[in-house]
C-alpha cells in the first residue's frame, strides 16, 4: 500500500497525469487542500453514509483537526479517499504501468 503523496510523486516521475487514475474524479479535483470539511462533506465526496464518515473519524482513518463537530483538512480527506479506493485506482495504474513497461 502506498500513500497518496507517494502516488503523486510516482506519476510525476513517469510523466503520467494523476487525474486519469484517481477516483472519484470530482472529489480529487474539487477538494481544497487547506479547507475544513465536516462529516456531511466527507459522506458526499466518498458517496457513503454519515455513519460511515463518523466511523472514519472515530477510528482514525481520517485525521481530525477538531471535534464538535468533527472536522478534517482537505489534504487528509484526499489521503483517506485514496486509501478507500486504493484497489480500483492502483489496478488501473498497474495495468497501464505494465503496458508501458
Amino acid at each position: 500500500m502506498i500513500g497518496y503523496d507517494e502516488f503523486l510523486v510516482k506519476c510525476q516521475n513517469r510523466g503520467f497525469d494523476p487525474f486519469s487514475y484517481l477516483m472519484p474524479e470530482m472529489a480529487f479535483k474539487e477538494i481544497d487542500d487547506e479547507g475544513d470539511y465536516l462529516v456531511g462533506d466527507v459522506a458526499f465526496y466518498a458517496s457513503k453514509s454519515e455513519r460511515t464518515a463518523r466511523r472514519w473519524f472515530d477510528t482514525g482513518f481520517l485525521k481530525a483537526v477538531g471535534r464538535r463537530p468533527w472536522t478534517c483538512k482537505g489534504i487528509d480527506l484526499k489521503r483517506a479517499l485514496f486509501k478507500e479506493f486504493y484497489d480500483p485506482i492502483m489496478s488501473q495504474f498497474d495495468k497501464s504501468y505494465k503496458n508501458v513497461y
Partner: protein, 795 residues
C-alpha cells in the same frame, strides 16, 4: 504317341460341411439359407464380423450360437480364436473397448485408432479384433488392456501450459521448439494429443532440445577445419605465441610489438584465418566460383564431394603465398570488411618468417661445427629474404587495404553532449513507449523499462557496454543479501552524514526518496582491467536507484526463484544465466527507436549511440555545474574521472596535473555528484534547479546557440512592481490582477471554515464546497494570467 502327364499340386482343402456338424435341422436350414455352406465360413464370420452381425443376418438367437454352434466348431477345430472373456481369463487382466479407453485417455475414439496405427500405443497394449480376439461388433477393430491404458494416462498427464510454468518458459515458445526440433519418434514419446503431454520426459530433455536450434544455426558458419587440417597446428601455435609474447622480430627489426590482451577477439581471428586459407586452397586447386551471390552478399558455397576431396588432398605451404592468393581471399568481400583480414594475416606471415630465420641459424651453426654438412649460407638467407619480399608485395598490392578510409570533415561524427532537459525527454520517450509506429503491425519497443534503465545508467553512472553486459546482480550491485529482509534483492539506500570534510554512509529505508546507492565495477569486467570503481563504489543518484529497483522488481517477477542473482541484463529475461554474447547486442533496439528522439537534430539522430551517454556525463560534471564551495569546485574534473573511470595511463590524456592520482575523499565526490547529477525530472523544477546550479553554463549556451526556451526561464519571476523591465501597461494589469487576487483570498479564507461560511455567507454543506471549488478555479486563472503578462506574452 507319348503321353504327357501334368502334375498339378492341388491341395485338397478339406472343408467341413455344415451338415457334418450335427446341428438341429432348423439351425442348418437357417445357415444354408444365408449362404453358410461350410463350417469355416461360419467361424470366419463369427470371428471377424462379430456375433451381433451374425445374429442380425441369420435371425438366430445368441443362445443358439453359443450353446449349439460354437461347441461344435470348437470340437472340429475350426474356431481357434478366443472370445474376450476367455482372453481375460487367460491374461488375468481386464479388457476394455476403444470407447472406454478413449475416455480414460481423455481423447476421442478416432484419435485412439490413429495412435494405434501411428505406433504411439505399443503393440502389447491392445489386441486386434478378428485375429487375436473375436469381435463383438462389425466395426470393432481393437480392444485394449485396462492396466496398460491407465499407465499411459498417467504418463501423458499434463498440459503444455503446466509444463511451461514448471520450466519457466513461454507457452508459445515451448510449442514452437517442440514442433520444430523433435524427431517423429521423439514426438510419439512426448505427446499423446494436443492436451496430453509427457511432463517427465520433456522436463528432463528440454535443454538439449533447445540447443539443437542453436547448433543448426551456428553450423551454417563453418570454419572449414577439415579442409585445412595441415595448417591448424601452425595457427594455434601462432595464437599461443601472441597471447604470451609481445614481439615478433625478424632480422633485428621488431614488426609487431603488442601482445593479445584478454579482450582480444581470438575466435574471430581464428575464423578469419581458417576461411582465408580455405579460399586460397580452392583457388589453387582450380575450383571455379567457390562463392555464389546471394542478393548483395557473396557467400561461400558448399562443394561437391569430388571438389572437397581435391581440396583436402592438396597440401598448402604458407611459405609459398603469392599475390594471387591474397586476391582470392578478398574476392568475395566488399567494402571495408577487407581491412579485417590484414592484421591477422600479417602477424601470421611474419611469425612464419621468424621461425624460418631460427631454423636457418640453427642449420648454420651445425654446418659451421660439422664440416661434412653442406650448407650454402648466402643462398638460404637469400631464399628467406625473397620470401619476405614476396609477402610484403602481396600484402601491399593485393587489393587488401590496411586501414579504413580516413574521416573527412564531411563524414566525421560529432559527439553529442546532451543537456539535462534532453536527458529527461529521452527518458520520457523511451519509458512511455511514445515511439510512433511505422507500420500498422509493429508494436513499438518490447520492454521499455529495460531500455530506459540502460539509458539512465549510462546518463547518470557512465557504465561502458563492455562492462554492462557482464554485470552480475549479486556481485556488482550493492543489494540486500539477507533473505529474511523484506527488501531482499533490491539496492540498499544510504544517506550521507558529514562532519567537516569527512562523510560516511548510513543506511536508510528502501522507501526513502533521497537515498543513494552504489555500484561496484570490479577489475575483471572493467575495460582492459584498469578502470575499476573506487573503493567506496560508484555512487548512484536517488532517481537512478529507484529506476533500478523498479526494473529489478519487473525482472524478478519473471522468474521468482532466481531472486537476487543472475545477470542484470539478459537475452531471455526469464533465464538468469544467459548474458548477451556481445556488448553491442545490448543496444540493438536503439537504431529502431532513435528516430523518435525529437530533442536531437536530424544529423545528430543518425549518430546517436549509447556511448553518447558517457560523453554527456563527463561534460555535465565538468562544464555544466557550478558548486558554491570553491574547494569542491576545484576537484570537479577529478570527480568526473573517478565517476566515469577514465584510465590514467591513456597516452594523450592531459590529466597529469595536481592532486589526481589519489582517490578523492568521499565528501568531495559526493558533493560534486550531488550538484551535478541529482537533478529533478520535472520541467519547471529543473529550470529553477539549473538556474541555481548552472547559471553561467545555461546563459552562455543559450546565447551561443540562440535557444529561446532556455533564455525564457532565466528571467526572474519576482513580483517587484518597481522593476524597470515592465512596461506601464503591464504594471497596470498586474495591479488589477493582484487586487482581485486579494479579494479572492479573503473570500476563500472565510469559506474554508464552516462556521464562518454559515454566519457570514449563509452557505452550508454542498453549497459551501461548490463555492470553494469555484473560487479555487478563479484564483488559478488569475495567477496564470499574471505569469503570462510577466513573461511578455500577448494576453
Amino acid at each position: 504317341m507319348s503321353v504327357v502327364t501334368v502334375h498339378t499340386n492341388i491341395e485338397v482343402n478339406y472343408m467341413i460341411a455344415v451338415e457334418e456338424l450335427g446341428l438341429h435341422v432348423k439351425t442348418e436350414e437357417k445357415l444354408k439359407n444365408n449362404g453358410f455352406l461350410y463350417a469355416e465360413d461360419v467361424a470366419d464370420h463369427l470371428v471377424k464380423h462379430g456375433i451381433m452381425d451374425f445374429i442380425r443376418k441369420t435371425k438366430m438367437q445368441k443362445i443358439a450360437v453359443y450353446k449349439q454352434i460354437k461347441p461344435k466348431l470348437v470340437l472340429f477345430g475350426v474356431w481357434n480364436v478366443p472370445t474376450v472373456e476367455e482372453k481375460e481369463a487367460e491374461i488375468g487382466m481386464k479388457i476394455i473397448s476403444t470407447d472406454d479407453a478413449a475416455k480414460m485417455l481423455m481423447v476421442g475414439p478416432k484419435t485412439v485408432i490413429e495412435l494405434v496405427e501411428d505406433g504411439t500405443i505399443a503393440r502389447d497394449h491392445y489386441f486386434i479384433c478378428g485375429e487375436e480376439v473375436t469381435a463383438y461388433q462389425k466395426t470393432q477393430k481393437y480392444v485394449f488392456i485396462e492396466e496398460k491404458v491407465l499407465d499411459l494416462a498417467k504418463k501423458y498427464n499434463s498440459s503444455l501450459r503446466a509444463i511451461a510454468k514448471k520450466l519457466n518458459v513461454d507457452e508459445s515458445s515451448i510449442s514452437l521448439v517442440l514442433k520444430r526440433d523433435l524427431t517423429d519418434e521423439e514426438m510419439k514419446v512426448a505427446r499423446l494429443s494436443a492436451y496430453q503431454w509427457n511432463e517427465a520426459w520433456i522436463v528432463e530433455n528440454y535443454k538439449e532440445i533447445e540447443m539443437r536450434a542453436n547448433q543448426r544455426l551456428r553450423s551454417s558458419v563453418t570454419t572449414y577445419d577439415e579442409m585445412i587440417s595441415e595448417l591448424i597446428e601452425l595457427i594455434e601455435e601462432y595464437f599461443d605465441f601472441r597471447m604470451k609474447n609481445k614481439e615478433i622480430i625478424f632480422d633485428g627489426v621488431v614488426y609487431i610489438n603488442v601482445s593479445y590482451s584478454k579482450d582480444a577477439r581470438v575466435d574471430e581471428y581464428r575464423r578469419i584465418l581458417y576461411r582465408s586459407f580455405y579460399k586460397v586452397k580452392c583457388a589453387r586447386v582450380g575450383i571455379d566460383g567457390f562463392f555464389e551471390r546471394n542478393g548483395k552478399q557473396k557467400r561461400l558455397r558448399s562443394l561437391s564431394k569430388e571438389e572437397q576431396e581435391k581440396v583436402q588432398e592438396y597440401q598448402l605451404d604458407i611459405r609459398t603465398l603469392k599475390a594471387e592468393d591474397i586476391s582470392a581471399i578478398v574476392s568475395n568481400i566488399e567494402g571495408n570488411g577487407k581491412t579485417n583480414y590484414f592484421l591477422p594475416l600479417k602477424g601470421l606471415l611474419y611469425y612464419v618468417l621468424m621461425k624460418e630465420e631460427q631454423k636457418y641459424l640453427e642449420n648454420l651453426e651445425i654446418s659451421l661445427n660439422d664440416d661434412s654438412v653442406v650448407f650454402d649460407a648466402n643462398k638460404e638467407w637469400a631464399k628467406i629474404k625473397a620470401m619476405k619480399g614476396r609477402f610484403d608485395y602481396s600484402l601491399n598490392h593485393g587489393d587488401m587495404p590496411k586501414q579504413r578510409g580516413k574521416t573527412t570533415p564531411e563524414n566525421r561524427k560529432d559527439k553529442i553532449f546532451a543537456t539535462r532537459k534532453q536527458i529527461v525527454r529521452c527518458n520520457y520517450i523511451i519509458s512511455c513507449n511514445a515511439i510512433p509506429k511505422k507500420k500498422s503491425t509493429s508494436k513499438g519497443l518490447r520492454s521499455p523499462i529495460k531500455y530506459a534503465t540502460q539509458m539512465l545508467i549510462g546518463f547518470l553512472a557512465g557504465v561502458r557496454p563492455v562492462e554492462m553486459h557482464q554485470m552480475l546482480i549479486e556481485k556488482h550491485l550493492d543489494i540486500e543479501k539477507n533473505p529474511e529482509n523484506p527488501n531482499y534483492g533490491y539496492l540498499k539506500k544510504y544517506k550521507f552524514v558529514s562532519v567537516g570534510t569527512e562523510s560516511i554512509f548510513k543506511e536508510t529505508n528502501r522507501d526513502d526518496l533521497e537515498g543513494w546507492g552504489r555500484l561496484f565495477i570490479s577489475e575483471e569486467i572493467s575495460k582492459g582491467g584498469y578502470s575499476p570503481s573506487p573503493s567506496y563504489g560508484t555512487l548512484l543518484v536517488p532517481r537512478l536507484v529507484d529506476q533500478i529497483n523498479d526494473y529489478l522488481k519487473w525482472l524478478y517477477a519473471k522468474n521468482p526463484e532466481s531472486k537476487g542473482r543472475g545477470y542484470l541484463f539478459r537475452v531471455n529475461d526469464r533465464n538468469p544465466d544467459l548474458a548477451y554474447s556481445r556488448p553491442a547486442q545490448l543496444f540493438d533496439w536503439l537504431p529502431r527507436a532513435r528516430f523518435a528522439f525529437d530533442f536531437l537534430k536530424e544529423e545528430q539522430i543518425k549518430d546517436f549511440t549509447y556511448y553518447e551517454t558517457r560523453h554527456t556525463v563527463n561534460n555535465l560534471i565538468v562544464n555544466r555545474t557550478m558548486v558554491e564551495d570553491p574547494q569542491v569546485n576545484e576537484r570537479k574534473q577529478r570527480a568526473a574521472e573517478m565517476h566515469c573511470r577514465h584510465s590514467m595511463e591513456d597516452s594523450g590524456s592531459k590529466i597529469n596535473i595536481g592532486h589526481y592520482q589519489e582517490e578523492l575523499p568521499l565528501y568531495f565526490y559526493h558533493s560534486v555528484i550531488n550538484t551535478a547529477l541529482n537533478f529533478p525530472f520535472d520541467a519547471e523544477e529543473l529550470l529553477a534547479w539549473e538556474k541555481k546550479n548552472n547559471p553561467v553554463g545555461v546563459a552562455m549556451e543559450a546565447a551561443y546557440k540562440g535557444e529561446e526556451e532556455i533564455l525564457d526561464g532565466l528571467e526572474t519571476i519576482s513580483l517587484n512592481a518597481e522593476s524597470t523591465s515592465f512596461t506601464e501597461e503591464q504594471k497596470v494589469r498586474i495591479a488589477e490582477i493582484e487586487k482581485a487576487l486579494e479579494e479572492l483570498n479573503n473570500e476563500i479564507s472565510i469559506l474554508r471554515t464552516p462556521h464562518k461560511a454559515q454566519k457570514l455567507r449563509n452557505l452550508t454543506g454542498r453549497e459551501r464546497t461548490k463555492a470553494l471549488a469555484e473560487i479555487n478555479q478563479q484564483i488559478k486563472l488569475y495567477e496564470q494570467n499574471k505569469h503570462k503578462i510577466i513573461r511578455g506574452d500577448a494576453s
